[in-house]
Symmetry: C2
Subunit: 249 residues, 2 copies
Amino acid sequence: MKTPAKISRIPLSRQIKNYILDGISSGNLSPGDRIPSEAELAKHFSASRMTVNRAVSELTVEGRLNRVQGLGTFVAEFKTLAPLFEIRSIAQEIEDQGKEHSSILLEAQRGPATKQEAGRLEVPLGEDIFKIQVLHLSDGHPIQIEVRLVVPKFAPLFLEQDFTTVTASDYLQKNVMFSEVEHKVDAISAGPEISKLLEIEENAPCLRLIRRTWLGEDIITYVQLIHPGEMFRFTGRFSGPQAVRDMPC
Amino acid sequence: MKTPAKISRIPLSRQIKNYILDGISSGNLSPGDRIPSEAELAKHFSASRMTVNRAVSELTVEGRLNRVQGLGTFVAEFKTLAPLFEIRSIAQEIEDQGKEHSSILLEAQRGPATKQEAGRLEVPLGEDIFKIQVLHLSDGHPIQIEVRLVVPKFAPLFLEQDFTTVTASDYLQKNVMFSEVEHKVDAISAGPEISKLLEIEENAPCLRLIRRTWLGEDIITYVQLIHPGEMFRFTGRFSGPQAVRDMPC
DNA sequence: TTGCATAAATTGTATATACCAGCATAGACT
DNA sequence: AGTCTATGCTGGTATATACAATTTATGCAA
């Protein structure tokens, strides 16, 4: 008798990681709390300690946990901005979490640049530009709003992309000659539109606003990402105690 | 008979990682090359495959290698900017590589801000500021120049730091309430001063210039880092084929 | 009370083994 | 010639085990 279909195609180590992550995001585990020891987790999952060790080690590398030999493993005190500074495809990020990425094209229009848009791209006011807005979903749940401003004459190929499947990061990674990247991170609260799109409460704090400007020889792109803070994490690697504790969100 | 002192306190997995990294930096392994299989490495180091597996897996997470099931493990095609965007202490970075960090205080003076400096900090021209310049060394080799501009009235405690042991990142991580970070990356070539400090050829290309501005409630800091490009790596995670290949450096 | 040795718990590292999954190729078959 | 299959190599995951290193708690002795 063969294995009855595929009951669980998710690796055990991944399940353990998700279990811990769920504990953190659900509030059962708070920053500073000790998580069960490797031996306990191994028993709980009927796994060997090595498997637990790998799962926990990976979470440590990812900045979610801190391990202290002889003491135990603890939920990282603070979230990290590090992932925000890593320029990766949101699709890849989601898939790495074992979830399914999809996206909805909210807007794709061409027209003259407003004053703000021209400022972002550092082009003359009224310049012919493209404005694309995409909503990214993780397992069907909205998770990030992406706004792209592109100067068509610099990037004709960009316009042929399927914006719902190819993220800006994907495209830029494959096609754009990097010369300079400017990166700004800010925190905002949700206005009516954003709260509706992301299915969160209005005026919810903690949203991360990331702005990136790519200045290449043949393309000028401005990417603006908005997503709930929970998706990305802070660790001590980036900011210390006061850094986040005193933040409004 | 006990172990004869400590012949090798460096973990085997770390040794394997260093072996591979050395192969890459020495040019024996170029991007795209296949590295020896896990079995071969295990034999070479008289280690078990699991140990090799861990070492190689970690290098993959760090973006230095790409693993393909059924094919082999390959040197990552391109370096990544990701570490540049991770805000970490240079001291920690160096120690993580198993090397010793030290630093030399090149300059520490107080005076009115020049036009350029005032612009960086967004303070009035002539504002009383501190200018600190530190040279960081890895195992005695100069590796990074750090320039810090600080507005004293916003950060009185900052001035009591020992600048040669506490890096700006360290301090900011522990004491500064984060509100906004601006991050710019650029590539420059080495002028006479820089080439002398970093012990590299004059006009050497590929130097990374990183500028960070921290805007907090009680501190405004501008940090400028210069280091040879080799220290940090690119991977496909950040930039695609053309991204680096076509760069002047 | 103080100091020190010891024990217990925990993570860190390493081994030996097993089986699964993906890829490429050689060889057999049509 | 084209197609299929078997095989071998590769990495992916998991187990069971062992010992080292670190921290904390405990208990005993001075």
